[in-house]
């Protein structure tokens, strides 16, 4: 890294000059090494095996880049001090047009360095791409502005009571990604609308989701240095990194990194259980459906609720808050009862737009199971029944006495809505 040094004084081959160049080269190398030590500070946790390799590659590049940085800034500052124009000196500098040896050197050395980096980067890339044995396959669905994760489970079969007759019947949905240390994961990703991009900074891997294509990426989660056992499952953000519209910044969810398979399987078992044995009570079933994340409600709405061991803790801001929605549902459209307003808002969100929000919610369909936004009628009824009980003004006991919705009317409205074939 002694580029640019030789042009200073005459007799470039004298031992003194060669010695000086050697000293400067060593100093630049040491400087680069010191700068490279910043790497772990700059990056977040290393929660995947890929992170180790990528950080190491970055460290090498930071070291080399650091040396070049010090060389250029060093020559620059030295020149500005040493060769600045002195007061009253109006002479010109020496008429030096170049130095072929030097020019060859500072072309050849960077060329060799970048070729080395190409080879190194290529090896890391091939390693990361390598299919692993026994990968856990998770299907990822993205839409404006949220994520749904679908897990295969052999206990699930078509028509198992979740009301879903489509191909997702053998999968259970989750609003968050769950993985465990040491288990390689393959994400199979599709988008329902625009381009999105899946990124977990702590796992370093990123891949776009492209309309009309299925894209894949691999992650091998690992235990994170310095984290105690009781901190698990570790929670990191999954963020969207491709501009997708007004809610792009708020389009994040979480990945839960379990310490071991046991902890992960506990989560799987409870998720499967809730699909196989949904609550009989339509209100609780509606809450279960929303909590599962299958329709991505959590991506845009805020709602804090806790019942029967289920908890919703949503704080999204893209859509209007659902907190206490039952109290105001009947006031939104003059003459429209609460249950009809809520039900219609699921299938035809543009019918009434809450002031301050855009008409950007997905248009769900109940006819075609293969449609991008399929939401079967029983699910819509259950969700409506649940939302009818989301009240800030009344206690559950008071609601049991005087419900805010007419559930019989809900069923007949639902029937009529279907007959109309409005979508």
């Amino acid at each position: 890294m002694d580029l640019g040094k030789g042009s200073n004084k005459s007799s470039a081959n004298s031992p003194a000059v060669i010695g000086l160049i050697a000293v400067i080269t060593v100093l630049l190398g040491v400087g680069g090494l010191v700068i490279a030590q910043l790497t772990p500070v700059l990056f977040p946790d290393q929660a995947s095996a890929e992170a180790n390799q990528i950080d190491q590659l970055f460290k090498v590049m930071l070291g080399i880049g650091g040396s070049i940085f010090l060389l250029v800034q060093g020559v620059l500052i030295y020149s500005i001090i040493r060769y600045r124009k002195r007061q009253g000196d109006n002479t010109d500098g020496p008429t030096v047009h170049g130095n072929v040896t030097l020019e060859v050197v500072w072309t050849a050395i960077p060329a060799v360095v970048v070729l080395g980096l190409v080879i190194y980067s290529y090896q890391v890339w091939v390693d990361i791409q390598e299919p692993k044995e026994d990968e856990l396959v998770v299907h990822v669905e993205a839409r404006r502005f949220g994520w749904t994760f679908l897990y295969e489970d052999e206990r699930l079969t078509a028509g198992n009571g979740n009301g879903n007759e489509n191909s997702n019947a053998t999968r259970f949905p989750a609003p968050d990604l769950h993985v465990y240390a040491g288990q390689p994961v393959r994400l199979v990703m599709e988008t329902e609308d625009v381009i999105h991009s899946f990124w977990v900074p702590e796992m370093r891997i990123k891949q776009d989701l492209l309309p009309g294509r299925t894209t894949e990426m691999r992650i091998t989660p690992q235990l994170v240095d310095g984290r105690a056992s009781d901190e698990y499952p570790l929670r990191y953000r999954v963020v969207c990194t491709e501009l997708c519209g007004s809610g792009h910044g708020a389009m994040f969810t979480y990945v839960y990194l379990h310490e071991d398979e046991e902890s992960y399987m506990q989560w799987v078992d409870s998720s499967v259980e809730s699909v196989l044995n949904p609550p009989e009570d339509p209100v609780l079933n509606g809450m279960r459906i929303m909590a599962s994340g299958v329709y991505g409600c959590q991506s845009c709405h805020a709602l804090q609720d806790s019942r029967e061991g289920m908890t919703l803790s949503w704080d999204a801001v893209t859509g209007p808050s659902l907190q206490g929605i039952a109290d105001r549902a009947s006031t939104r459209v003059s003459g429209q009862p609460a249950e009809e307003y809520l039900y219609e808002s699921i299938y035809d969100p543009g019918a009434y737009i809450v002031p301050g929000y855009g008409n950007i919610m997905n248009q769900y369909q109940f006819v075609n199971p293969d449609a991008a936004h399929y939401l079967p009628k029983p699910d819509a009824e259950a969700i409506t029944a649940y939302l009818c009980t989301v009240s800030d003004e009344f206690t559950p006991e008071e609601l049991a006495e005087n419900p805010l919705c007419d559930f019989d009317n809900l069923l007949s409205y639902s029937e009529m809505y279907t007959m109309d074939g409005m979508n």
């Binding site: 640019g4 042009s7 005459s10 700059l42 977040p44 890929e50 390799q53 990528i54 590049m61 930071l62 880049g65 250029v72 800034q73 020559v75 620059l76 020149s79 500005i80 060769y83 600045r84 124009k85 009253g88 109006n90 010109d92 500098g93 020496p94 008429t95 047009h97 130095n99 030097l102 020019e103 072309t107 970048v114 980096l117 190409v118 290529y122 890339w125 990361i128 791409q129 609308d193 625009v194 381009i195 991009s197 900074p201 891949q207 776009d208 492209l210 309309p211 009309g212 963020v239 990194t241 491709e242 519209g245 007004s246 792009h248 910044g249 708020a250 893209t318 301050g356 929000y357 855009g358």
Partner: protein
Amino acid sequence: MATASYPMDGVAGQVKRPALAEYFTWSIDHKIIGVQYIVTSLFFFIIAGALAMLIRWELMTPEITVMADGSQYNTLFSIHGTMMIFTWIVPFWAGLGNYLIPLMLGAKDMAFPWLNAFAFWLLPPSGFLLILGFFIGPAEAGWTSYPPLSTIYSPDGQTLWALSIHLVGLSSILGAINFIVTIKNMRPPSMGWFQMPLFAWATLATSIIVVLATPFLAGALTLLLLDRVAGTTFFDATSGGDVLLWQNIFWFYSHPAVYIMILPGFGVLSEVLAIHSRKPIFGYRMIALSSMAIAIVGFTVWAHHMFTSLQPELRIPFMITSMIIAVPTGIKIFGWLGTIWGGRIRLNSANLFSLGFLSLFVIGGISGVMLAAVPVNIHMHDTYFVVSHFHFVLYGGSVFAIYSALYHWWPKITGRMLDERLGKIHFVTTYIGFLGTFMPQHIVGMQGMPRRVAVYDPQFQDLNVLISLFSFLLGISTFFLLYNMVVSTVAGRVAGANPWRALTLEWQTTSPPPAYNFAGEPVPFEDPYGYGTDASKAYLDAMESRFGPSPGAEEERRPPSGALPEPQPAGD
């Protein structure tokens, strides 16, 4: 087009500037057009800069607080990026090239004066269309406008956006054809290719890129417009279209466009550093030819912008070419360091911005090589690390070069000097504001903050507040330049023909130059950077006796003979 200025041999300071009204008319004088470009682009720079201030204001909190909603925030950075690129940096270089190229070549005007005027007058409507978008729902899909966000999901302003870029693209192509023809045909007989000033080489390389690449942008925009207004489905995957088609065509233009924005800046540096270090450029041929190498290799790297969307097996070849392009850029940086080494470095505003360019651009170059590595890129892609990288090359690079060019050629264009004290304040505030704004963005990005978000992880708030505060300093720093320009125009010190004692031809005429630039046929000095020789001194003295001493060069005036200080030891 008649200007009111005529050469007054031997009498400095009595040259009249063109009347103000001329700048608001259809003129085919390249000097008028050059100034029209420069002033128009400065106007859009201020608007786009104000948008950046709003962006930074919003980002002081991790929720949406300043803007009404996410869409409104998206319009800020979409229009900020579009304006900065298409109505500030690209047209500024067209303007500077317009002003300087005929002068540097000793020509009377550009090859096609009428076409030149036409190319300029496409620019104001283009910027106007972008601004008009704010009244009908502006483009909010970023300056890259990826479909289907920019087709199915965007308001009507997106159509205006595409029309606007179409106009500015056409303007760019027409200007570039003009430059190529002018540089090829209008040099004086004694000026061979390798006696051209390096700014002309850079403009030539830039123009070749423009002519080859910009038609692809026009093609992509046409498809986008058809999808938006004519019901076609080129980019609609649900009807057989492909979203990657846009990305490929768009970046096939837009990566070379990076060099369209930076190569003229390289040219400026080669002029400014040599002239203000009083030394020949180090390795003229390597610097000239590396511009051409960059222009060629620049066409083979576009897909490194698509490392997270491109098919995985296609990423490797683009990684290789993207890393290789660092080599010709490195040649230039080392060549410039060789140029200042051993010189008599004047630390005036023009040179400070060029030296500042060197120190900042090398950081952008290093982060560029990092981003070229696919494994590193898939972590950094679309994060603030990338935002930082391209601001280091486009602000620390292009804009610093623009500032340097303004301080350097302002005396030629206006006949007045800019105030050096204000210029130094401008440099220091810009440099500190820039570093404070963009250095920490590397860290925010690596830690996990994506670009183009108004809502972000609250753990990044502290750094974002810091970044915003420095960005406000950066915003304020611009006003030192604007104020300086106004004061200089009204009451600046008279410059004279050649205040820098520069050898290139644009300085061998009055400031500002008369109509048709030169009285008689100008004779260029044999070597545009031949400083330090007796011949060059004789040439400059002859010119000084012809055009009179340059009052602007007060502190540069040679001391009385006999008082010469000991020369510094000569280089090898």
